[in-house]
Symmetry: C2
Subunit: 162 residues, 2 copies
């Protein structure tokens, strides 16, 4: 297997702290509260998560045990994503499962932390934990971090508008 | 943390092949086809999965990508369980995720293989893969294998009836 592709953008830092994890870091010019809202209000999520593609938010129950399900209408087809919330601590921390319909039953634990930098900016840190190294590397090779950075750029635009 | 409790019954063999897995083995006096049906037909599943407790089968879509959700009405309360099918190969192999409502977002990958022993009996092998060793040991300490053996005894009774 080829080594996973870690292609950082100037804004996004990507590391692999263990053989089953991917960690990303990115700073936003917005408060934790505003980022939290953009991540949990369906009307706002629909504006950035799909990176310009139409996104249908079928479920977004931001409580411990709640489910979420998004359907992205991309040029290459329709992609469903879903999961469940493990931990919800506004405006600091969100832990949820992540599953793509194309690989049902392959579940990633996605932890997101918002860190107040004290100057109006917020550091967003994510950790994705996979069941196996192969699943992690497959996700990295599928363009996970490029897609994330595209979403984050769209999120930045949403945050700037408000 | 105390070491996980591996309490095998005379019928059920339980091992831990890696630090994130539990493997079980049990032989049934029935063909693979009959066991497969008892595991995938909602009317039959309801007779054994809940170990004598009332079981409501809310969803049981036995296809790749399909969802399942069972609600067990036990003396100590109502317990929801759910997951999604990763692999469905009748009458040989079933891989699915498993999640208990009490610990949402903690997902086990449960693989089940039915092996024809050639004499009318079938060996049922399960492997459960956890994200962490702590999750595995927590599940073992919660009585996972005792509960499984109770279910299997109820399954045996269902198989004998038919």
């Amino acid at each position: 297997m080829s080594s996973p592709s870690l292609k950082p953008s100037p804004a996004l830092t990507v590391t692999t702290p263990s053989d089953r994890e991917v960690r990303t870091e990115r700073v936003f010019n917005a408060s934790r509260e505003r980022i939290w809202r953009a991540m949990t209000d369906p009307a706002l999520v629909a504006q950035w998560w799909g990176r310009g593609n139409r996104l249908v938010i079928e479920r977004l129950e931001v409580v411990r045990g709640g489910h979420w399900r998004f359907v992205e209408h991309a040029p290459d087809g329709v992609h469903g994503f879903e999961g469940r919330f493990r931990e919800v601590t506004p405006p600091e921390r969100l832990v949820q499962t992540f599953e793509w319909d194309g690989m049902p039953g392959y579940v990633v634990i996605s932890s997101m932390t918002l860190e107040d930098l004290g100057d109006g900016r917020t550091k967003l840190v994510t950790t994705s934990l996979f069941h196996t190294t192969e699943e992690r590397d497959g996700m990295l090779d599928s363009g996970m971090t490029e897609g994330l950075e595209q979403s984050y750029r769209a999120l930045e635009a949403v945050l700037a508008k408000r």
